[in-house]
């Protein structure tokens, strides 16, 4: 058997193996790689980009959450809680909605004018600007470096590797609860009491739910009734399986807020002997 024939056989064998093993491994499931701290919360938006000949948008959640509360973006600006569900179009942005609510080349955040997102009549010269967001698969330098940004912030083990709550307490981040021209100026929220939830598993520490923190960041309508349908304690039951599937707490705590692997952040009441 000559060398060329041998190479052909090896190629065919490898191709067959790939064809057989590929679907087989997908059926048994492959463990997802845990995102790196700077990747956690990242959203790739590709509803229309590729049809328009642009790379999908890479949205970095960490930098946006450091500047605005959840409510500003997910209630007032109107971003959906599920990646890709907002169905943002370039026209929406160009007309001052969604990304364009801030990225309009006029709004100033932290003393910096926020660059314009999509425009009605983009020219070839605008390519560089477009690529600031439409950057999936491209090497585009960002204005913000995660490591530089996170360096002074208190650390945590999972997610972005940061304790966002403590960072705010220490005044290291100041998420704004109002977006001028978009948000409704509301009365201050009545401080909600934190409460305890008892887990089903014996010996598992009770959950201390910080209603205060959640309402300050989210308001009421972001969670009720679309994410949590029960008001009275004990009327709704939540399971870890459902939470892992992205329901109730899992809407945020599997995607952008500290992840479920950080058990003790919720199951935080010491177990009494």
């Amino acid at each position: 058997m000559n060398k060329v024939t041998m190479n052909k056989i090896i190629f065919v064998v490898l191709a067959v193996m790939l064809a057989v093993c590929g679907p087989a491994s997908s059926q048994t499931g492959i463990k997802k790689r845990r995102p790196l701290p700077y990747e956690y919360g990242r959203v790739i938006i590709r509803n229309y980009s590729e049809k328009a000949g642009l790379a999908p948008v890479v949205f970095e959640h960490w930098i946006h959450r450091s500047k605005f509360t959840c409510r500003v973006c997910h209630v007032d600006v109107g971003f959906a809680m599920k990646a890709g569900a907002t169905d943002i179009t370039a026209a929406d942005n160009a007309h001052g909605y969604y990304c364009g609510a801030c990225h309009n080349g006029k709004r100033v955040v932290d003393g910096k004018t926020v660059f314009q997102s999509c425009s009605d009549h983009a020219t070839a010269e605008d390519t560089k600007r477009c690529e600031r967001c439409h950057s999936y698969g491209l090497k585009v330098a960002s204005d913000y470096d995660f490591f530089e940004f996170s360096e002074p912030l208190p650390k945590q083990r999972f997610g972005n590797g940061l304790d966002w709550e403590k960072a705010e307490e220490l005044g290291l981040i100041k998420p704004s609860a109002l977006l001028e021209g978009v948000s409704i100026k509301r009365n201050p929220l009545v401080v909600q009491k934190d409460f305890m939830l008892n887990p089903k598993v014996a010996g598992m520490p009770d959950i201390i739910f910080s209603h205060t923190k959640h309402t300050v960041w989210n308001g009421c309508e972001l969670c009720h009734p679309e994410i949590f349908v029960g008001v009275k304690k004990g009327t709704s039951h939540y399971s870890m399986v459902e939470i892992t599937e992205g329901k109730s707490c899992g809407v945020c705590h599997t995607t952008v807020a500290f992840p479920l692997a950080d058990c003790q952040r919720c199951h935080s009441k010491p177990v009494e002997p």
Partner: protein
């Protein structure tokens, strides 16, 4: 004399042509600048009435728990009457404000439901 009359007529015609041309240019320019009309452009006060109502109705969500069932019912009714007005807006505005209205109405309806359950 003949030449003066001819010159005057020509001069008048030129002025009329120039004026017509300028008029047309201004008209088209204004049209071009105005179209397509951006939804972010300031709307007339009448068009913005819905926005005032929206801000008033949905700016009370943080107080939802303190409202009586009657007040909540009235807020829900106001949300429902806002819906057809928002549906008439351009696509972008419609998408954003229908979503916001859904959340705000949803909260009032949810609190009302809980309050009614409590009564029973």
């Amino acid at each position: 004399m003949f030449f003066t009359t001819k010159f005057k007529t020509k001069f008048k015609l030129t002025i009329i042509t120039v004026l017509l041309f300028l008029g047309l240019a201004v008209f088209c320019g204004v049209r071009a600048m105005g179209a397509p009309q951006s939804s972010a452009a300031p709307a007339s006060p009448a068009q913005e009435t819905w926005r005032k109502e929206f801000d008033d109705v949905c700016g009370k969500t943080q107080d939802a728990m303190s409202f009586s069932p009657e007040e909540l019912t009235d807020l829900i009714r106001r949300c429902d009457s806002l819906r057809p007005q928002i549906e008439k807006l351009d696509e972008s505005r419609k998408k954003v404000y229908l979503g916001r209205l859904r959340m705000c109405r949803g909260l009032y309806a949810y609190v009302l439901d809980e309050k009614n359950k409590e009564k029973k």
